[in-house]
Symmetry: C2
Subunit: 423 residues, 2 copies
C-alpha cells in the first residue's frame, strides 16, 4: 500500500515495524560499501592474466621502439589503434594517458586555465568568470573539478534522452559558458544513453565561447551488463561534420575493463587540438607508461576480444544489479516513495526518492553500517535541490553482502519516508 | 699544441686535416644519439625480472588492500616506506606518483598557478610577475616548465659546490622570486654534488616570498657510476630544522633504476604540505598505478638491494663515461679549446668550450649524423649567454657507437674552434 494513502494509524504501525527492523539490522554491526563504482574482486581475478601479459623483454620492442625506454609522448601506435577501434575515431586522434582518464580530464581543464585551449583568447585564469554546464544528476568527480577551479556550475536537467538540450542551447549563448560535462553512454548515475537526436544537437551546438569544450567522458562505452554491445556514434566525426572539429575532447579508459587505477586511458580529439595539447603536454611529461600500454594491448587485443571480456564482466555484474532492482521492486515500489531507472550498462542505479529523503536515508544507512555515495554528490556543489537523488553502486560487494546492504537501504528509505510523512 | 698558440700556417694545416677528417666521418652516414639521458638497452635487459615481479593475483593484496582496485591516493604504504628509506625522510612525507617525477614537478607548479601553494596569498596566475631561480647550466626540462608558465627566469651561476649562494641570497629578497630549481646530487648537466655548506645555506634561506618553493629534484640520488654510494642529507629535515618546514618539495623516481617512463615516482614534502597538496590532487586522480608500485617494491625490495642494482648499472655506465672522457683528454685537452667536469654519477658530461663554439659544434655534429642536446638547452630560454655549454649524454649508445660518436664530436669541436680562430 502506498504510504501516502495510509491513515495515521497505519503509518504508526508501519513505523514501529520498520523501526524495529532498522534496529535489528543496526545491531548486526554491518560494514558494507556501495559508495563507489569499484569493480568486485571476482572481476579483478578474471583479468589476472594481464599481470603476465608482458614478461619477456624481447616482446617489449614494438612499432620499432623499445617500450621500456623514454619517448613517444602521445603513446604507442598499437595502443592508439586499439582505442581508435573502440571509440570509432582515428588513431592520430588518440592520446594515450596513464592510469586514469580523470587525470587527463583534469589536466585538460587545468591547461585551459593556465595556458588556454586552442581557440582561447587568453587562459581562463585571466577571466573574471568561467561557467560550465553540468547535466545533473551527474558524476561527482566532474563537478569537483569544476568546483576546484572556481567555475560557476550551471545545472542542466537530465532527461531520458540525455541533457535537456533546450536548456543547453539557451545557456551556451552566454560567452562565459566555456564547456559541458557529458557521460554519453550509461550516464553516471542514471545509466541513460544519450539519444541520437541529443548527440546530434550537442555536436551541432553553436556556443558563444569560441573555446567551448565538450568534455565527453565515454567511461562506460563498452560496459553493458545486460544484453549485447550497443554501438555508439563517433562524437569526433559528428562534431567535425557539424563544423565544430575542435570542440570535443573524448575520454575513456580500461579502468573497468582490467584493473581500476592500473589500466591505461585515452583522450581523443581533433588533430589540431592534439597538436596544440601535445605541445603543452611535452612540458609536463616525456610519455606515459608504455610498458603498461603494451601489456594492455597484448591482453585486450582488439575490440572484438574486449567485448568478449566485457560479457564476462557482465555475467558478474548483472546478478548484482538484479539483486538491487528486485529488492527495490519488492520493498519500495508498492510504497510510492521512490522511482529508479533500470540501466543496461554502467555502474550505477539512480534512485529518486520523494523530495527531501536522500540525506536522511543515507544518514540512516551510515548508522546501520552501509556506506553510500554522499547525498547531493550527483549535483553541482554537492547540493541536490530536491534532496532526492541517491546513487547506488552495486559492483563492489559480493551478491550475499549486497543483498544485505540493499535490505538496509530499503529499510532506511522506508524509515525516512515515514518520519517525513508523520512529521 | 694549444690552438691559441698556433701560427696562421699551423692553424690552416690543422684546419685542412680536421676538415678532411670531418668529411670522412660525414660520409659514413652515421645516425647516433647522445641527446638525452636515456639508459641503454643493456641496462633495461638487466632489470627484465621486473616484468614478472608481480604475476600472481594473490600477491596483489598488501597493506590490507587490493592494489588492483581504486584507492589510496598518496600511494601504497610499502612504496612510501621504500622511498623514505632511499631519501632519508619519513614515510608520511612521501607521495607516490606515476611513471614520471617530471609530471609531479609540473603539477606542483601548475597547482601553484591555479590554486596557490600552502602559504600562497593567491594563485600565482593572479600575480603580475613570477620569477624563478635557475642555477645554470641546468636541466632543460625544468626551465621549460618555468617558461611554459611564463615565469621570468633568473640565471644563477653554478659553482663546484652548487648554486652560487651569494647570488641566491640576494635574489630571494625580491618577493616576486617564488622558487628555485635544484638537482642537488650529480646535477644535470655538470654532475656537481652540492656541498654540505651550500645545502645548509639553501635550507636556511629566508625568501621574501612566504610561498617560495624549493624544487629539489633528486633525480640522481643513488646514481653513482664510479665508486661507492655517496650519502646525502635529508633536505626535508634540514629545512624543518632551519624553520622552513614547508619550503621544499623533493622528487625522485625509478626511471634510471628500472624502466625509464615505466617506473614509479615520489614527491616528498612536509606533512602540512602533503595534506594541502593531496587535498588538491584528490580532485585530479583517484590514485596512481598501485600495481606498478607493488611490482617495483617487490623487485627493488629496499635501499641495500637497490644500491646493489645501481652497482650493476654503474658497471654498464662507467665504460661509456670513460670512453667520452678518454677521447676528450686525448683529442681536446691539448688544444686548450674546452674544459669539462669528471662526474662520478648522474647521466651527463658537461663541456664548456671557448666562448661562441657550442652552437656551431652541434650544428656540425648534426651534419655528421650525431644528435646532441641542443646548444643553449642548459640555460633559461634556451640561450647560453656565452654559447659554450654542451651536454653530452653517453648512456644510450653501446660503447662502440659511442666511441664513434665522440670522435665525431671532437672533430666538430676542433673544426668549430678553428673556424673561429681563423675568422
Amino acid at each position: 500500500m502506498e504510504y501516502a494513502k495510509m491513515t495515521p494509524q497505519q503509518l504508526q504501525a508501519e513505523y514501529d515495524a520498520v523501526s524495529a527492523r532498522f534496529q535489528e539490522l543496526k545491531e548486526k554491526g554491518l560494514k558494507l560499501d556501495m559508495s563507489r563504482g569499484k569493480p568486485g574482486k571476482a572481476q579483478l581475478d578474471m583479468v589476472s592474466d594481464l599481470l603476465s601479459a608482458l614478461t619477456d623483454p624481447a616482446d617489449c620492442i614494438v612499432d620499432g621502439m623499445d617500450v621500456r625506454n623514454y619517448g613517444e609522448l602521445s603513446g604507442l601506435p598499437c595502443a592508439k589503434a586499439y582505442f581508435a577501434e573502440i571509440l570509432g575515431c582515428k588513431s592520430e586522434e588518440c592520446f594515450i594517458g596513464g592510469n586514469a582518464s580523470l587525470n587527463l580530464m583534469y589536466d585538460t581543464i587545468a591547461k585551459a586555465y593556465t595556458h588556454g585551449l586552442l581557440h582561447s583568447e587568453k587562459p581562463w585564469a585571466k577571466l573574471d568568470k568561467v561557467k560550465f554546464l553540468c547535466p545533473s544528476p551527474g558524476y561527482d568527480r566532474h563537478f569537483k573539478i569544476s568546483e576546484s577551479f572556481g567555475m560557476e556550475m550551471i545545472t542542466i536537467p537530465m532527461t531520458a534522452d540525455g541533457p535537456d538540450m533546450d536548456a543547453v542551447e539557451q545557456a551556451i549563448q552566454d560567452p562565459a559558458v566555456k564547456g559541458m560535462w557529458c557521460v554519453p553512454k550509461y550516464s553516471n548515475p542514471e545509466g541513460v544513453i544519450y539519444s541520437d537526436e541529443t548527440i546530434r544537437r550537442i555536436a551541432g551546438m553553436k556556443p558563444a565561447a569560441k573555446d567551448f569544450v565538450l568534455m565527453w567522458d565515454n567511461a562506460y562505452c563498452i560496459h553493458e551488463f545486460d544484453g549485447d554491445f550497443v554501438p555508439f556514434p563517433d562524437i569526433l566525426s559528428l562534431c567535425r561534420e557539424a563544423g565544430n572539429p575542435d570542440m570535443v575532447f573524448e575520454y575513456a579508459s580500461t579502468s573497468k575493463v582490467t584493473f581500476p587505477g592500473a589500466g591505461i586511458s585515452v583522450m581523443a580529439t581533433s588533430v589540431d587540438n592534439m597538436k596544440y595539447m601535445t605541445g603543452l603536454m611535452s612540458i609536463q611529461t616525456i610519455s606515459y607508461d608504455k610498458v603498461n600500454q603494451l601489456r594492455h594491448v597484448r591482453f585486450l587485443k582488439d575490440k572484438a576480444h574486449t567485448l568478449e571480456l566485457m560479457k564476462k564482466h557482465a555475467a558478474i555484474m548483472k546478478p548484482k544489479f538484479d539483486a538491487v532492482l528486485e529488492a527495490l521492486d519488492a520493498e519500495i515500489a508498492p510504497l510510492g516513495i521512490a522511482q529508479w531507472k533500470r540501466p543496461k550498462g554502467g555502474y550505477f542505479i539512480s534512485v529518486d526518492t520523494m523530495d527531501g529523503l536522500a540525506k536522511r536515508t543515507l544518514a540512516l544507512c551510515k548508522e546501520a553500517g552501509v556506506v553510500m555515495t554522499g547525498a547531493g554528490a550527483t549535483f553541482p556543489y554537492g547540493v541536490d535541490p530536491r534532496d532526492r537523488n541517491i546513487r547506488i553502486a552495486p559492483s563492489l560487494p559480493p551478491v550475499e553482502e549486497l543483498e544485505t546492504a540493499i535490505q538496509v537501504f530499503c529499510t532506511c528509505l522506508r524509515l525516512a519516508a515515514l518520519e517525513k510523512l508523520m512529521a
